[in-house]
């Protein structure tokens, strides 16, 4: 790792000021950034640690509205009792990220800012129609996730929270890469007042996306059987040593079918 200056921010305003210095980067759980710095893939001059800012911590549920602070860890999302009632699918998703030690440090804000094409949270936020709140503005999930490791965030812009309305039904199913534990394919389905949605992670060449084929079939009939014979095109899907694009296309339907069954259970 190259030399770096570490700063611990006391507030969001403090962090916004600190991140302007040199080639500074925000640090949350560090579960992506520190490994990247160790391999010198990232070499910021300064790190601005957000993890001790109390405004960025915690989960609020009021009625159907859920708000999660950006620095809330995967472990805290997975084990929050209010969230497990309001939107168990999201708590379950958090429990599938990495391993226990990763979940104790990694945060929702860091995960979506990074927008890894195989990360879990992007699928949930896109399917839930969530809003990403920053220190500057509010961004809807469909405008936030832009491509591989690319988001709508401007330099130095800080995610403070994500918020969404809990749907009547939702579930997430993930086919994990057994070595990295990231998704080879993950599908998050929801059914609510505004209809159904199905967002796919791990598969798209441009990162997370909503599958039209799955959504059209589920809009007619929100059951696993409605997906029998539904084909998702392999065009635009990733091919790598773990899985070909054809295999991923097939897995999307399989994971969607399991997710719908879980959502209806």
């Amino acid at each position: 790792m190259y030399a770096v200056n570490y700063h611990r921010a006391a507030s969001v305003a403090d962090a916004a000021k600190l991140v302007k210095s040199g080639d500074a980067k925000l640090l949350s759980g560090g579960m992506t950034l520190i490994p990247a710095m160790k391999t010198r893939l990232a070499a910021p001059s300064d790190l601005v640690d957000l993890s001790r800012i109390s405004d960025l911590q915690g989960i609020k549920v009021s009625g159907k509205t859920v708000t999660i602070g950006a620095a809330t860890t995967h472990y805290d999302v997975a084990s929050d009792e209010k969230l497990r009632k309001a939107c168990p699918a999201l708590a379950h998703l958090a429990s599938l990220i990495g391993d226990p030690a990763v979940r104790h440090k990694g945060t929702i804000g860091g995960s979506i800012a990074n927008n890894d094409p195989a990360a879990d949270y992007p699928a949930a936020l896109l399917a839930l129609g969530a809003t990403i709140v920053t220190n500057k503005r509010e961004i809807s999930a469909d405008k936030f996730f832009k491509g591989l490791f690319e988001t709508a965030l401007k330099d130095g812009e800080i995610i403070t929270a994500v918020t969404f309305t809990a749907p009547a039904k939702a579930a997430y199913e993930k086919f994990r890469n057994p070595a990295s534990r990231y998704a080879i394919v993950g599908v998050f389905v929801t059914k609510g007042k505004d209809g159904v949605s199905a967002a796919v992670t791990g598969a798209g060449e441009d990162g997370v996306f909503r599958s039209k084929e799955i959504e059209v079939a589920l809009a007619k009939n929100f059951t696993a059987a409605a997906l029998d014979g539904v084909k998702v095109p392999a065009k635009g899907l990733m091919s790598d040593i773990h899985a070909s694009s054809d295999y991923r296309a097939n897995l999307i339907t399989v994971m969607a079918r399991r997710a719908v069954a879980a959502a209806n259970a």
Binding site: I34, L47, D99, P100, A179
Partner: protein
Amino acid sequence: MSDVSFVVNGRRVSGTAEDRTLLVHFLRENLGLTGTHVGCDTSQCGACVVHVDGRAVKSCSMLAAQASGSAVTTIEGLANGSDLHPVQAAFKEHHGLQCGFCTPGMIMTATDMISRHPEGLDEATVRAELDGNICRCTGYHNIVKAILAASKAMSKGVKGRAKQAA
């Protein structure tokens, strides 16, 4: 350079370190606590697991500066003098190690796992919770056996000690 200070295994320690110093290097090189191991460069093997403020974390993926102000427990902090911690005793009893390289991380993960599951553990849960700990020798079977035995032993009455250690 930054001043860092923690409570490590119940003792207050402070020192100066380059900001880029990883917690694992501070523990091993500045404090001489070489029980915490480095097994990989990819945050995947878990040989470096310690507890920071009561939660199991990978000390190779965290700066010492990030942990400053926190309470840190390492493998050296578990035994009570020459009395092994119940998880250490169970690893010995059930032959849960061969070369021993992964063992400190396994045991720190196991004590955290047991304290998060006061209702008890089953084999599937133990195996899932060991996702982040890699062992090149044992095939995991005896590690799982040891953790299940320790969890049982600890719920039978040594709970106080387990809490204190976690």
